[in-house]
């Protein structure tokens, strides 16, 4: 609690006891009470006193004055602010409305009510202030990735500077426990880095000389000397902070609705109160009935519950996501993400690693190792990714002297002389051209590289792009999170695409697409989706900027260090883990649920109390609950988002 909140608490306690004291003062005083107790030894009801001919004296002005004391203790600041704001031309503010409502209650003789309503209002304000304070603190913690200083080596000396003052090319020293202040490359030292603040990944990452390091990570074990590669403003940490801080500027539709609602709600309720106080009373003359009802209206007229809790929910959602390494560039995208119906994936780099490797070896005559060796030797001069993958599967240094004449046959494969024998390695077309009988094509996924030695079929190698770790689970989780359709786009041939799609459990795929076809496919899918649902496109941020911007929501993944991807996408997954996508969707859904709950609850309770007040079924207590009570509940509900793990 801050000192201001403590002061408020004391005022509440003091005023509460003064209120009880005032309430304990009897309404009327009995003269010569001592005499009665002496005489009969028991209490006698006042009615009998009157019968017995005694006069009852009223406390008159004393009792209202006794109530005024706790009222002023608890309400002086509200009254003062009301006066000050009227002077500034701010009529419809909360302070003024509370003042009118409570003074009104006292004027019509409901002293205890007037004080209690003010007291309850202040208790609510205190709760609200504590809740806001706590939320602000968790937001500040969320943003607490900014490095405070950098240890720079200048002229052989180590000086501590603001990261903004460090130039590119300078050398900085990062000790264990410190945050890396700027993006750079390690010159000396090895250590483990905690990247949790950026990626949400809890496992430390090992780094050594020559490797790039990213600002915002915490150095855990060894001392690092780092050469600065980017000024602070362009460093990862500054960019992320900038994104998170500005993300609340892109407001969601729910937020615009609340702003508009707040603008019209208060004046409407205040004028309704005025009408309620004046019109029926002029007609029927029952001021005592209608004025209290109108006062209730004034108490309910502040839209604070919504104005605080809705942005707080969004902020919590955005913040919770960023702690997981999911950067969402605005509340509007969070809102849109909650309505995800279709997710479209680019295959290479998103669902698969984009690295080819030998997955299976099917020899006919030789041992698997020999078959691989023959193919590797024949392919060793080729730079094709598939040839490279065969070489790396073989795992030995190339042996040029064992290979004689090599002929590359474009689109088919190679023909080489290895250890004096003619080795053919390539696709089906190559074998057919050389008249080598092939066995039936098997069902294995990937590119088949057939090998023939001296005119006899030797077997085949299967080369495939490997699925990303977690891709299958991510797709499964997306379905569970309510995504209806998943689609994969790829430049691969139909068979490979079908196989990968089957393995992943993806609903649809579009194969043999050229990069420019992807935009058209996404546009077709955009037309097919049902209204009210959004299409998410997930890519690796390389070469797919047009598609990212065409989709309702563009998600780039593996973006740590890739500026282009951060620029182009609406949502950025900082690390390479596709499983973050369903997490993002569920955070979005949860945020929107809370936003809806709060909107319906706050407007509902306020409306209900307004109606009941107009009918005379609700007292001022209910009205105060509908004002501050609802605010506190809504804030507490919204702050659930801040704890999202």
């Amino acid at each position: 609690m801050t000192s201001k909140q403590k002061k408020a608490l004391w005022r509440i306690v003091i005023s509460f006891f003064l209120l009880i004291a005032a309430a304990l003062i009897p309404d009327q005083i009995y003269p010569a009470q001592y005499w009665v107790i002496d005489f009969t030894g028991q209490w006698m009801p006042s009615a009998q006193w009157v019968e017995a001919g005694y006069t009852l004296y009223s406390w008159g002005i004393v009792k209202p004055l006794a109530y005024l004391l706790p009222y002023l203790v608890i309400g002086w600041d509200v009254l003062w602010r009301a006066v000050r704001n009227i002077k500034n031309g701010q009529v419809f503010d909360e302070n003024f409305l509370m003042s009118v409502a409570t003074i009104g209650a006292m004027v019509i003789g409901e002293y205890a009510e007037g004080v209690a309503v003010m007291l309850f209002y202040q208790v609510g304000e205190l709760f609200q202030s504590v809740a806001v304070h706590r939320s602000r603190r968790s937001i500040a913690q969320l943003m607490d990735i900014r490095p405070d200083y950098a240890n720079v080596e200048r002229e052989g000396e180590l000086c501590t500077l603001d990261p903004e003052e460090v130039a590119v090319g300078e050398t900085i020293l990062v000790k264990p426990g410190e945050r890396i202040p700027l993006d750079g490359r390690i010159l000396e030292g090895a250590s483990a880095l905690d990247t949790a603040a950026l990626t949400g990944e809890s496992l430390p990452r090992d780094v050594g000389p020559g490797e790039k390091v990213i600002s915002g990570c915490v150095n855990l074990s060894g001392v690092l000397r780092v050469e600065v590669e980017k000024p602070f403003g362009q460093s990862t940490v500054a960019r992320i902070l900038d994104l998170v801080e500005n993300s609340s500027e892109k407001k969601a539709r729910a937020e615009h609705f609340i702003t508009k609602f707040a603008r019209y709600y208060t004046p409407i309720v205040v004028f309704a109160a005025l009408a309620l106080a004046v019109i029926p009373s002029l007609a029927g003359g029952q001021w005592v009935v209608w004025v209290p009802r109108a006062l209730n209206f004034l108490v309910v007229s502040c839209p604070c519950a919504l104005v605080i809790s809705i942005p707080l929910s969004f902020f919590g959602g955005l913040g919770g996501a960023s702690r997981q390494g999911i950067l969402i560039k605005g509340s509007n995208y969070l809102e849109a993400l909650a309505k995800t119906g279709t997710v479209v994936f680019d295959k290479t780099g998103t669902l698969t690693r984009g690295e080819f490797s030998v997955t299976e070896i099917h020899p006919q005559v030789l041992s698997p190792e020999e078959l691989l060796e023959q193919a590797a030797l024949a392919e060793q001069f080729s730079t094709h990714p598939i040839s490279r993958s065969i070489l790396s599967a073989w795992g030995k240094a190339p042996e040029r002297e064992r290979v004689g004449e090599v002929e590359e046959i474009a689109g088919r494969g190679v023909r080489a002389t290895v250890d004096g024998r003619v080795v053919l390695a390539g696709n089906r077309k190559l074998m057919q051209r050389e008249n080598i009988p092939l066995p039936e094509e098997d069902q294995a996924v990937g590119t088949h590289i057939h090998v023939a030695i001296d005119g006899t079929y030797g077997g085949c190698l299967i080369i495939a792009d490997q699925l990303k770790e977690g891709a299958v689970q991510a797709l499964c989780d997306l379905k569970r999170a309510g995504v209806k359709k998943t689609v994969m786009l790829t430049g691969d041939n139909q068979e490979t695409a079908a196989a990968v799609a089957g393995e992943l459990g993806i609903d649809q795929f579009r194969a043999q697409l050229l990069p420019q076809d992807k935009v058209n496919e996404v546009e077709t899918l955009l037309r097919e989706k049902s209204p009210g649902e959004n299409l998410v496109f997930v890519g690796d941020g390389i070469n797919d900027a047009p598609v990212l911007s065409r989709a309702d929501i563009g998600v780039a993944m593996g973006a740590l260090g890739s500026d282009a991807a951060i620029e182009a996408a609406d949502i950025v997954l900082m690390d390479d883990d596709l499983r973050k996508l369903p997490v993002a969707v569920s955070i979005a859904r949860k945020t929107m649920t809370i936003v809806k709950e709060n909107t319906v609850f706050a407007i509902g309770v306020k409306f209900l109390v307004l109606v009941l007040s107009a009918l005379g079924c609700a007292n001022m207590w209910a009205a105060v609950f509908a004002d501050v009570g609802v605010s506190v509940i809504a804030i507490l509900n919204a702050s659930r988002m801040l704890g999202v793990k």
Binding site: N88, D93, R136, I139, R263, V307, L312
Partner: protein
């Protein structure tokens, strides 16, 4: 030019919304946001008149919420 200022003692969310609206109406301001949660005011306005506009914004804020201060460095 776009600049962010810290706000102190911003205690009421509705006031923040009112301030935002009032600052946007100042002549020369292209965009203004008041974030109740981060207690920050961002003003985007014409370069030449920026100082003057910030002063006006401070005045407007004072009018809406007298306890609230803009920290101008």
């Amino acid at each position: 030019m776009k600049k962010t200022f810290k706000l102190e003692e911003l205690d009421c969310a509705n006031c923040a919304a009112k301030m935002e609206r009032a600052i946007r109406e100042i002549d020369g301001v292209t965009q203004a946001t008041v974030s109740f949660l981060t207690q920050k005011l961002t003003i985007e306005a014409e370069d030449e008149r920026f100082e003057e506009i910030v002063k006006k914004a401070a005045k407007v804020c004072k009018k809406v919420e007298p306890d609230c201060r803009i920290i101008i460095k």
